[in-house]
């Protein structure tokens, strides 16, 4: 009896979580002239065709990817180096650094967004230069990605045996080489987690981009302008494509993890 109740509850929660997404997907195949979101007019791929012919969406997608790749790589490099520095610090400076790192994660996103907007607008007013656009977006994205990179690299650094790096140097390895040969392989899982997190956060970000983008369109910003006009099922097609992309990515990551695990098990044997 209790078990059946649990099953029903689980079903209801998943229904709540997935029903809206399913509706979006189903209506992306809807064949209507008017673009109605409710009346079913038969199966068609017309909204997908329209989506890929939409120059603005494709440009927004390109911007989003350029920003995400740049922000992920830059924040990973900057964050990993910073994490090594923070790890070697004494207690008090380390606490100060950790508080600065945690601050943007605790602060409401909208406040981070408007504060960066004030910074960029003031900077343009003081020093001239171009107004908000790709550069300000990339800077903003690096900023909110950095804490996540640092928080995923630091635990790996703490787990590492500090003698390893010193041993490499005692054996005549120059510091830079010792870093790439000894430290980096040890902390690599943390670095990769940080980079993937930074990439996905950047792709998904709307609030901070909204305040720092000026007239530049990213995909979330474009989606926002579409929802305000509330007409075209193109947006459903776009959601479906994005959802499918996420599913494929997740499957690949999971299959890779499983392979890694079984590989490790074999090595142990």
């Amino acid at each position: 009896m209790k078990k059946a109740g649990g099953r029903i509850y689980t079903f209801l929660i998943f229904l709540f979580l997935y029903a809206p997404i399913l509706v979006l997907i189903v209506y992306s195949f809807n064949d209507t002239e008017t673009g109605s979101r409710v009346v079913w007019g038969g199966f068609s791929l017309r909204w997908y065709r329209k989506l890929f012919e939409d120059r603005l969406i494709m440009e927004a997608l390109r911007n989003t990817l350029v920003i995400a790749v740049t922000a992920a790589v830059a924040s990973t490099v900057l964050g990993t180096v910073a994490a090594i520095g923070i790890n070697g610090m004494k207690r008090l400076p380390r606490r100060i650094m950790m508080n600065i790192t945690n601050f943007p994660m605790v602060n409401p996103e909208i406040v981070t967004g408007v504060s960066l907007m004030l910074l960029f607008v003031s900077a343009v007013r003081l020093f001239g230069g171009r107004s908000l656009g790709m550069a300000s977006l990339i800077a903003a994205h690096i900023t909110f990605c950095l804490p996540y990179v640092i928080l995923s690299v630091l635990p790996k650094l703490r787990q590492m045996d500090p003698n390893l790096y010193e041993a490499a140097q005692d054996l005549g390895c120059p510091p830079i080489k010792a870093f790439f040969k000894v430290v980096l392989p040890e902390i690599m899982p943390g670095v990769m987690t940080g980079m993937i997190m930074a990439f996905t956060l950047s792709i998904d970000d709307f609030v901070i981009s909204y305040f720092t983008s000026g007239t530049t369109q990213t995909l979330p910003i474009y989606i926002y302008s579409m929802t305000r006009r509330r007409i075209s099922p193109e947006i459903n097609a776009l959601s479906t494509v994005l959802f499918a992309a996420v599913m494929v990515l997740l499957v690949i990551v999971n299959v890779r993890n499983l392979k890694d695990q079984s590989g490790q098990q074999k090595e142990e044997v």
């Binding site: 649990g6 689980t10 929660i13 998943f14 979580l17 997935y18 029903a19 809206p20 997404i21 509706v23 979006l24 209506y27 409710v38 900057l78 180096v81 910073a82 090594i84 520095g85 923070i86 790890n87 070697g88 610090m89 600065i100 945690n102 601050f103 943007p104 994660m105 605790v106 409401p108 996103e109 909208i110 406040v111 981070t112 408007v114 504060s115 907007m117 004030l118 003031s122 800077a139 900023t143 640092i150 928080l151 500090p162 010193e166 430290v183 998904d204 609030v207 909204y210 305040f211 979330p220 989606i223 929802t227 947006i235 776009l238 959601s239 994005l242 959802f243 996420v246 599913m247 997740l250």
Partner: protein
């Protein structure tokens, strides 16, 4: 590694100073100056006119948090009790919707809740009266719960799986019934997860501005909408907007401070790692 490592964090320190510390100081500067740049308290004082907006945001955010906790806690328990394979699948299914942009997820609810939307069409089809759902405070709460409930379920789940089963068995052996076991053992031991979940739902819910715009129509203005209007909207006034942001930050910090009173100090890290 110890001697030369301090310099390594210098670029990061500079970056965070320029892009976190300076912007925050700018918010403070704008909040306490007028358009000409001279000192004034007018902005902060006029935030008082919007106390109804603040109260509405806090109220709706709190309702959404309580509903998320009420729905999420039993669900986290169900996941934690399943076998390991099932646990992994269920956790993944909880996380999957979060990978979809929240604008799209909220847009999906617009389709469902509209006066001519799917739910109302279904009701009409079986002969029931239509219900007006979109552009109400209830729709805003629904949107908040829908978007943020994974942030409640995941920290609760991670705490519940870590509870030592022998502690619960010990309580049962000593004669506690299932209600007593829950109230006296499971619930107290899961408090760090409750606190972490409540914070992770309440903070974004209070400061949201898109959900209220999309599902709440014009009549359910929240703090986030107020800030948006001052910076990018018709009521352009960054000085007032900064003052509102400052007050919002103070409210959030006070709430976090209160929550941390119940906290043993390590929850923040756990919650952060889950994201």
């Amino acid at each position: 590694m110890k001697s030369d490592s301090k310099l390594l964090s210098a670029p990061y320190t500079v970056w965070m100073t320029v892009f976190i510390v300076v912007p925050m100081l700018l918010v403070g500067y704008f909040a306490f100056t007028d358009k000409a740049g001279s000192f004034t308290l007018e902005n902060i004082l006029s935030v008082g006119q919007y106390s109804n907006v603040f109260l509405r945001s806090i109220w709706l955010g709190a309702v959404a948090t309580v509903i998320s906790l009420g729905l999420g806690y039993p669900f986290a328990m169900i996941i934690a009790r399943a076998n390991v394979r099932r646990q992994n699948v269920m956790v993944m299914l909880v996380m999957l919707p979060m990978w979809m942009n929240f604008l799209l997820r909220t847009y999906a609810w617009m389709t469902l809740l509209e006066d001519n939307g799917l739910i109302n069409s279904a009701l009409a089809a079986i002969g029931l009266p239509r219900i007006h759902m979109i552009n109400t405070a209830g729709a805003v709460v629904l949107g908040m719960v829908y978007n943020y409930i994974p942030y409640m379920i995941l920290p609760l789940y991670s705490v519940l799986t870590k509870i030592d089963k022998s502690v619960i068995e010990a309580a049962q052996d000593l004669g506690a019934n299932s209600r007593e076991v829950f109230v006296k053992v499971t619930l107290p031991l899961s408090m760090p997860g409750v606190i972490s979940g409540v914070t992770m739902v309440f903070v974004p819910a209070v400061s949201t501005f898109i959900i209220s715009k999309m599902l709440g129509g014009g009549g359910n203005l929240l703090i986030g909408d107020l800030i948006d209007m001052q910076f990018l909207g018709s009521a352009y006034n960054p000085n007032l907007g900064s003052a509102v942001s400052l007050v919002l930050m103070v409210i959030i910090l006070i709430c976090m401070g209160i929550m941390n009173q119940f906290d043993d100090g390590e929850v923040g890290e756990k919650g952060g790692m889950l994201l």
